[in-house]
């Protein structure tokens, strides 16, 4: 009985306790949710309710979403539960911002389409300290830009927007207050703090300098140069160009988002200008820099693919050759020691926004034109005395390459003037240079042999036909010279011309027969041609004879031949006893007769070739380049072989001469014994 009463008592005690516990749990659950979902509070409709009348366009479970009202969020985030004072104090990313341009995907909005705290945040997300939890209670991950791109997807398009998902280089720093992704990549939050007091970090008004310099400090060498358009345009005093007042130096060319082209370009561009369109926007007659308009002449800057890497200029194989291949528009002077020029300062080879200078080593040009580096050791180096005197006299200075090449000058190839020759002669007819030309020189206005691959001007011979001004001794790896006269192995000759006269024979192939004859006088400095012929400063124009003894004879032929063929000459053993033909009997030349060319039977007067009537002289019968008129015996059997009527450098057999016109049947006798003063008179 007592046990039964005991049981009843226990039940009586436990039931109220259970019911009380249930009531507490209910109250606890009510508060658990009601701590934010105040619209669920049972007293919400009580006339005594202190709930404020909050205007909200969000609807949750069919009721006004007071829970998502900013005031509800602030009631904890004002510092007294969580300290988000800076967030709520920020004017950035508020619900009243213009969002008409956005395509918001997968995020809740107010009934009027506006954003609110709950658009990005939900307290129901996993707590940040749980796996997968996203601080601060975000609907999607923000640090990797996913949440931001739910609305701002157009701001992630490559090239026209600042890149994201790329890592900073070691020299770049995260802007203060900015965040990188867990992988260390640049994301939206790197520059945009979302709830900071500025749209982007460290931006003053429209001036982004403080932000941009954290990563791109080197580009700010542009400040106060002519490319600093906010300053330049302001100083110009005119109303030309965009209004950039108060903006950072980057603004004139770059928009962080939704630019007009690659590199986040800020200005309209003519896409037909290709990769140079960015430069041509200003550097055109109608642009902001008409005095520096690109003329499409000079160095090639379009339609050319770089075949190899050029590390010194930051060029990779396959890149287009562009203005920016040579120029860095962000720095006036390559060392950055002279980054600030004065307005409208005329550029030099060291400035002009060049990536590298065209100094005495021609750094800029030889970065690509590596083969031309050999010029530094030659007399064509601008460090040599001749150039220095020229610079001093002209009060100018040029770099190694620009002293001859005008990068942006008019095209030489298209000109009707041989500018190459003019350039060479501008020095080599002057007083400062030892190898002056301008006397009897190789003719340069004649067509280059069709079989030749040598360059010329308009198909005709010019200086660079024979010379490559960049290499002193191209074929013999001979680089250095110090104000020395050259020889056939160097002299900036384009092709090897020693010991074989390859360069000469490239055009004068017919004269190759002289090689290995007794007239091949080549030695350690001269080839088979140059002993008798000088391409420059010859003694006479005809044949460009290099040196002769005026006392050796009475005619041009005798002066030339007797320089050797005389008792004291190198060919004393071949001194003719008789040689002269009566000069009072003039002979009409083949061309005048209409029976052949002048070379068939050349006639001369005292000073040189006769075109109409002349007399017989040495070269009338002898061709000094050819041992025999018969190709089959053109080569001597041995070096001291005596000649006969078939050889002896005779130009023709007797019957092909004009001798029979006068001598008739005695011609053969006269021909054979021409140099025998006794026998030749027998008939």
């Amino acid at each position: 009985m007592m046990r039964r009463y005991g049981s009843y008592l226990l039940v009586l005690l436990l039931v109220p306790a259970f019911l009380l516990g249930q009531g507490k749990r209910k109250n606890s659950d009510e508060k658990e949710c009601g701590i934010c979902h105040v619209q669920w509070h049972p007293e919400r409709n009580n006339v005594k309710s202190l709930l404020p009348q909050l205007e909200t366009s969000t609807v949750i479970d069919g009721r006004a979403g007071v829970v998502s009202h900013e005031q509800m969020c602030l009631s904890c985030h004002d510092g007294y539960v969580k300290d988000s004072r800076e967030v709520f104090g920020s004017s950035n990313h508020k619900k009243d911002m213009n969002q008409a341009h956005l395509k918001i995907q997968g995020l809740p909005l107010g009934t009027d389409g506006e954003i609110y705290c709950g658009t990005c945040h939900t307290p129901h997300a996993l707590k940040p300290n749980n796996p997968g939890g996203l601080a601060p209670f975000l609907r999607d991950e923000a640090v990797n830009s996913d949440l931001c791109l739910s609305c701002h997807s157009s701001n992630a398009k490559d090239h026209v927007n600042h890149p994201i998902k790329v890592k900073l280089s070691p020299s770049q720093q995260v802007p203060e207050g900015g965040q990188l992704s867990s992988d260390g990549t640049i994301e939206c939050l790197t520059c945009h703090p979302i709830h900071g007091d500025r749209p982007v970090l460290a931006v003053e008004g429209e001036n982004r300098k403080a932000l941009c310099t954290s990563c791109h400090e080197e580009y700010f060498q542009i400040e106060l140069t002519d490319h600093d358009l906010p300053t330049t345009l302001s100083n110009s005093g005119s109303s030309m160009g965009p209004n950039l007042e108060g903006q950072d130096v980057c603004a004139s060319c770059h928009s962080t988002h939704n630019g007009q082209g690659k590199m986040m370009w800020a200005q309209e561009i003519d896409k037909s200008d290709g990769g140079n369109a960015f430069c041509l926007f200003c550097h055109s007659p109608e642009g902001l820099a008409p005095l520096k308009a690109y003329s499409h002449e000079g160095h090639l800057v379009e339609d050319f693919i770089m075949p190899k890497d050029v590390p010194a200029l930051g060029i990779k194989a396959g890149d287009d050759l562009l203005c920016t291949s040579c120029h860095d528009p962000h720095q006036w002077e390559y060392t950055q020691k002279h980054s600030v020029g004065f307005q409208n300062e005329e550029g030099t080879e060291y400035t002009s926004f060049l990536k590298l200078p065209d100094d005495a080593q021609g750094q800029l040009c030889t970065a690509c034109h590596t083969n031309q580096k050999k010029i530094f050791a030659s007399d064509h180096s601008v460090s040599r005395e001749g150039f220095q005197q020229y610079f001093k006299a002209s009060k100018t200075f040029k770099g190694q390459c620009s002293v001859c090449h005008d990068t942006h000058g008019s095209g030489w190839e298209d000109s009707d003037v041989d500018k190459t020759r003019m350039l060479c002669e501008s020095c080599h007819t002057g007083v400062h240079y030892p190898s002056t030309v301008g006397g009897f020189d190789h003719p340069m206005d004649i067509a280059i042999a069709e079989t030749s691959t040598l360059p010329g001007f308009d198909g005709k011979i010019t200086c660079i036909t024979c010379h490559d001004p960049h290499v002193w001794g191209r074929s013999h790896n001979e680089l250095k010279t110090a104000d020395l006269d050259g020889n056939d192995a160097n002299s900036f000759l384009r092709m090897s011309n020693w010991p074989e006269p390859t360069l000469c024979l490239d055009c004068h192939e017919d004269q190759a027969a002289v090689i290995n004859t007794d007239h091949d006088l080549s030695n350690e400095t001269h080839n088979a041609c140059s002993f008798c012929h000088a391409a420059h400063n010859a003694s006479i124009e005809d044949g460009l004879v290099s040196a002769w003894d005026e006392s050796a004879g009475k005619t041009m032929n005798e002066h030339i031949c007797f320089s050797c063929h005389r008792p004291s000459g190198s060919a004393a053993e071949k001194m003719p006893d008789s040689w002269n033909h009566p000069r009072e009997y003039g002979t009409i030349t083949h061309p005048v007769r209409g029976t052949g060319t002048w070379k068939d039977f050349p006639l001369f007067d005292i000073d040189g070739p006769a075109e109409v009537v002349g007399f017989i002289d040495c070269f009338t019968c002898h061709d000094p380049h050819r041992w025999s008129f018969n190709p089959e015996v053109s080569v001597k059997k041995d070096t001291n072989e005596d000649g006969d009527y078939m050889t002896s450098f005779l130009r023709n057999p007797s019957h092909e001469t004009l001798c029979t016109d006068c001598h008739g049947e005695n011609t053969l006798w006269k021909f054979n014994y021409y140099h025998d003063p006794v026998k030749r008179k027998r008939y």
């Binding site: 202190l50 709930l51 005031q71 009631s75 104090g89």
Partner: protein
Amino acid sequence: MNILSRIALILVCAGTLSSAEIVHQYQSDMTLPTDIAILADGRICVADGVNARILVFDSKGASTELRFPEMKRPLGLAADDNGGLLVSDTQAKSVFILDKYLNLKVNIPLESSVDPTDVLAVGKQLWVVDNDGHQILVIDRKGQLKHTLGKKGSVGPTFSYPSTISSGKDDQIFVCDVLNGRLQLFNTDFRYQGQIADWGITPGQFFRPKGVASQADGRIAVSDSFTGTLQIFKSQSSEGTMIVDSNSNPLHFQNPTGIAWDKSGLLWVVESATGSVMGVQLP
């Protein structure tokens, strides 16, 4: 609120005071200011932590600012017994002691886990509200920990995000217990004295109690940042009385936080959302 509701509210709010009036409103480009303290000389100090400063208003409302390199984001203020100012800084994790000339004299660094939202001088000790720690730290003026009060909870001497602290007559210490929606009472011997009000949305209840200030006559004012109201409690056991305007509607503020009485009996309220501090003349 329609007219019937207003009439009803007037009828049911039998305990309301006569109308209160806002007689001063000071603004000085503050961003979400938090707490207020009135110095012995009558100057009004307001914590403008977002701007890393404390603004000091004179009797005409002219302000000067206090900035110290050590001070990062001040949140809580209290008048010190010697005429100076106490500052709690949630970013610097410090309590600062300023003399009566408002020169920074002592920087008391706290443990990095401490979230000091308010501070109070009690004799030679400082009572520091550790918001995230759900407790009160009692330290001396060298930072030596002497005592702790409370832990996380909802019953008895516990807290759920305590915010501000104030002292009253008879050695009473009041602590706003934000998410528990109540005012916790202790005495200076660290004994728990019970609570005032509980969580709710009707008069006599708190939804987000943030500021507490006690008058010499024993009246205790409490601000509720979400409902935007002020309530007066004459004692621990009394019903709360709404502060109302001339229409007998609760005088409404936008996110009121710190409050303080001045010697003239004005109740000064920090209206955080508008960056203002207001002097309220009570009947």
